[in-house]
Amino acid sequence: MDSTSPPFFKRGLPPPVRLAIFSGLALLLMVVDGHYHYLNTLRNTLAVVINPLQHVMNAPVRLASQVSSFFVVQGRLRGENADLKDKQLLLAGQMLQFQALQAENARLRSLLAAQKRYTQKTTMAEILYSGRDPFARKIIIDRGSLHDVKPGQVVADDVGVVGQITRVNLGVSEVTLVTDKDQAVPVQNLRNGLRAVVFGNGQEGTLDVPFMPVNADMQPGDQLVTSGIDGIYPPGLPVAIISKVERNAAYPFAKISCTPSAGTDRERQVLILSAVQSAPIPPRPQEPPPQTVKHGKR
């Protein structure tokens, strides 16, 4: 007897073959994307298409938050107002000092004929939502290429560095937080000027300082600020505070963990700092005229 099924039971390829085909395709895509990075531009283009949809879906969430903020208790508002007034007074006093110092600094710098430190142009942005990928620590902000945002710019809030812009669309851009895995920030210890690099480890609220020798002068409570030697991060922005230092002579490096200064889960507003204009590269020296070496006759 013929054991093949009659044609009206046919359903195309058998399921295991389909499984092999489709998972093979998925694996192929993964390798092309993850290993060779061929699909980055495609992804950025598609993100522009998807963006309006995400805005639509974000609308109810924003509405809910607006409604809830409308019903804030008045007492809390008054307390907040008083606090802000106090802070304002304090800052005004510091500002007077700051202006005096700035004037003095400018004079000294001009005396030294030092290169004028650029004044930072900042753009205010609002956090729209955090990225949907649970494996990456990213946030989406409401400023994009329409507002002159460029990849690589540094994002900070009022207390410290938040992250770096990694992807820019028309109206929104994506910020990779300092806590994202392998996101590196060159820092300096405020206490003694020791330079290091802070790495994110993918966990919320902790950062690592790897590759520091066991006897490095790093203590809990030390503040780490950007060193500025990388030419991307402006110098002097707070990044993290060292929380724990483990020195084990069995390992070549000390295990230093710290907590980031900026809180990306609390604030809604952030600042995009304009790209650092690093010192102009000195002009290429004039090439000496090609020396015509006269060879003697052999």
Partner: protein, 177 residues
Amino acid sequence: MASAKTTLSKPASGRFILFTLALGLLANLVPWNGMAKLLWPDCIALLLVYWIIYQPRHVGLGTAWFLGLLMDIADGVLFGQHALAYTLMAYMAQILHRRLQMFSPWQQSLYVFGLLLISLVIMLVTRLAFGAAFPGPLYFASSVIGAVLWPSLSLLLRLPQHRKPRPDDTYTKLINK
């Protein structure tokens, strides 16, 4: 299942399936902050499992793969991550679909939990292989929530297919004779 009511229902139209999948895609795009992001169930995966169980000739591995690709694009993550996870999950659902059709929604939700967990584990493994960090045990929470929501979801999806008893139905006439 003796307790389960066996009611004849209309087959779901392809247009209805497409509509629910589009709704699921939109529901997956809701941008949550913090904790809610991890707890929000994967609506596309739930709908895929449902339609594979009840409409295995309309929805299969191809649909799963394509929807996975759409999710990869929507999330802006590694291409093929959701596609692989959904394809494998859909294959297992296909193997189980005859058995699952017999179960009550709460019994089904146990299997659904397993299927969702498998898709999450596949995504975790692929991302770890490409150098991401483990996002913590709460990452698996969405599969529990998805399984808990399963009975109400299947009730909701079955509503439009209920056949209204028509008085001029030949069958009812024959019975009532």
